[in-house]
């Protein structure tokens, strides 16, 4: 914990480290194949008795074998699903419906093909308050903001292109911008770099890290890439097989900002090895 705090302090964040922001208390989620929560006995649980605490501005990664309920965890925290039992508290309030302080990005960039890249990034501002109320007046200002954000992720000059004119990595950059344009407090990432080639993926790690260092929002990153977890996260959770539960919590000792060199540090390698051992054991069990 101290090592992480020191790392963040150097990057300018860390003030809210001890405030808990997301609190899952013995959360169980059961649902039938249809995706609807099901109360009936014998339905396999997606999550079982999962407890998790995330501080404000913390970067958390959740790793585990596929189908272990990692994505369900994101849906619970963002209020898209209600737990079957237990409680989900975000920002001192019990989550009852979809939260509006959340940005999301998935493996599939889900950009709207009829909108330009710029208009895709602006979409949240057309929907979420208070931007929505100021949309007519603030349009120019919002567009400037979107352009600035796109420039930060390396998409300057591509604002007027359509998503199908962009490469997969560029689409994912735009998707990240869309998730962040309304300055959400909570960023949910569900294997966002899973479909990209290794070089693009590592480039995007740096993009994400620099965005986060600039304005520390709370991140929950679901991934099956252990190096990605070790590169990006402050804290890494390992989940068991279905029904998912948290098996292990690891603080990441690596200082920030991390770069390609960090991947060759003994701490990094040791961390990845340890995580891998756990995953192997989980899969064998």
């Amino acid at each position: 914990m101290t090592a992480v705090s020191a790392g963040r302090a150097g990057a300018g964040g860390g003030a809210d480290r001890d405030r808990r922001f997301v609190d899952l208390d013995r959360v169980t989620l059961t649902y039938a194949a249809t995706g609807r929560p099901a109360a009936e006995e014998g339905t396999p649980a997606a999550l079982a008795e999962t407890s998790l605490r995330i501080a404000k501005g913390e970067f958390v990664a959740v790793v585990g074998p596929s189908g272990c309920g990692k994505s369900s965890l994101l849906k619970l925290v963002s209020g898209l699903m209600a737990p079957s039992s237990g409680s989900v508290i975000v920002d001192d309030r019990e989550v009852a419906g979809p939260l509006k302080i959340v940005g999301m990005a998935f493996q599939n960039p889900t950009l709207l093909p009829w909108r330009s890249t710029l208009d895709n990034v602006l979409l949240p501002l057309e929907i979420v308050q208070p931007f929505r109320g100021r949309w007519q007046k603030g349009k120019g200002e919002f567009a400037e903001r979107a352009r600035a954000l796109l420039a930060k992720v390396g998409l300057a000059g591509f604002e007027d292109r359509h998503p199908w004119e962009l490469s997969g990595g560029m689409q994912q950059r735009a998707s990240l911008c869309r998730a962040l344009i309304h300055e959400p407090d909570l960023l949910m990432l569900d294997e966002p770099f899973g479909a990209l080639d290794a070089f693009t993926r590592e480039e995007l790690w740096d993009v994400l890290q620099s965005l986060w260092l600039e304005r520390p929002f709370t991140v929950i990153l679901v991934t099956h890439d252990l190096r990605e977890a070790a590169y990006l996260a402050d804290t890494i959770y390992v989940m068991s097989r279905r029904p998912g539960r948290i098996l292990l919590r690891r603080d990441n000792p690596l200082p920030r900002p991390r770069d390609q060199e960090s991947c060759y540090q003994p701490e990094f390698t040791a961390l990845v090895h340890e995580l891998r051992d756990h995953i192997r054991r989980v899969r064998a069990a």
Partner: protein
């Protein structure tokens, strides 16, 4: 590419002329009598002879068809939006819609005549009844296909049902909608001509019916050619509108 382009544009004309040539030569070569199958040249000649009547009836059919088509578009978009935006309504309405579409519309014309008398109104209604179904189905399909991830993104932004429809549903349904217009407008011609054939004293259906009863087959075929030409023209107009407004759906490539 640049060299091939004009050839591609001429292809439809070449194919059409080729078809007429084969038709002309076959009828002449096999000595088919005029009252069985006239040559295209005889049909065109007959059309020219009766051009005043042909023009009047063609205009009548065109306006009737467009009136029925416009009603079909309005009704189809409303019903399609309703059916496409709610799973419950979709489940409830689907069998009724399919059942309705399976009823041959020619069997409905006598009912319409009983209600509204002989004339333009039953023809408009038949054009409407026969052409709204593809619009409903396509609009509903376009609206109903929303990726689950995108739905999560929008819901987590606090988007209302109407927001989702406006921002994603309708734009996404647009290519489906235009595709259905091309089909619907040609179907609308089928409906109006059918109704005019059974019960009217105006329009292409009536003209061909009366020409047929006088064994004036060249005029009947002139009528068929005019209807086909109007159908192709309407299809072409809606193709252009479609291509202009939904360029994203074909990724910028020229569509069909």
């Amino acid at each position: 590419m640049a060299r091939k382009f004009p050839v591609g544009r001429l292809l439809p004309a070449i194919a059409t002329i080729g078809l007429f040539l084969v038709w002309e030569l076959a009828v002449r070569g096999l000595h088919v009598p005029d009252y069985i199958l006239p040559t295209p040249s005889a049909s065109v000649a007959a059309g020219w002879t009766f051009r005043a009547a042909l023009g009047m009836h063609a205009l009548q059919t065109l306006l009737t068809t467009l009136a029925g088509f416009v009603i079909a578009v309005l009704f189809g978009v409303m019903l399609g939006s309703l059916v496409g935006s709610s799973r419950t309504i979709y489940a409830a309405a689907n069998p009724i819609l399919i059942g309705f579409n399976s009823v041959p519309k020619v069997a409905v014309v006598p009912v319409l005549v009983m209600w509204f008398g002989i004339g333009t109104l039953p023809a408009i209604l038949t054009a409407f009844l026969i052409s709204f179904f593809p619009i409903v189905v396509n609009v509903a399909t376009g609206l109903a296909t929303l990726e689950p991830e995108l739905r999560d993104v929008l819901r987590s932004l606090g988007a209302s049902r109407l927001d989702v429809l406006r921002k994603v549903g309708f734009p996404r349904a647009l290519p489906f909608f235009f595709a259905s217009l091309k089909v619907a407008v040609t179907l609308a011609f089928v409906g109006s001509v059918m109704s005019e054939t059974v019960a009217s004293n105006k329009g292409m259906g009536y003209l061909m019916m009366s020409a047929g009863s006088r064994f004036n087959m060249p005029l009947v075929f002139a009528g068929l050619l005019v209807i086909a030409a109007m159908g192709v023209a309407m299809y072409g107009i809606f193709s252009v509108i479609e291509r202009r407004s939904t360029r994203w759906a074909t990724r910028g490539a020229p569509g069909l």
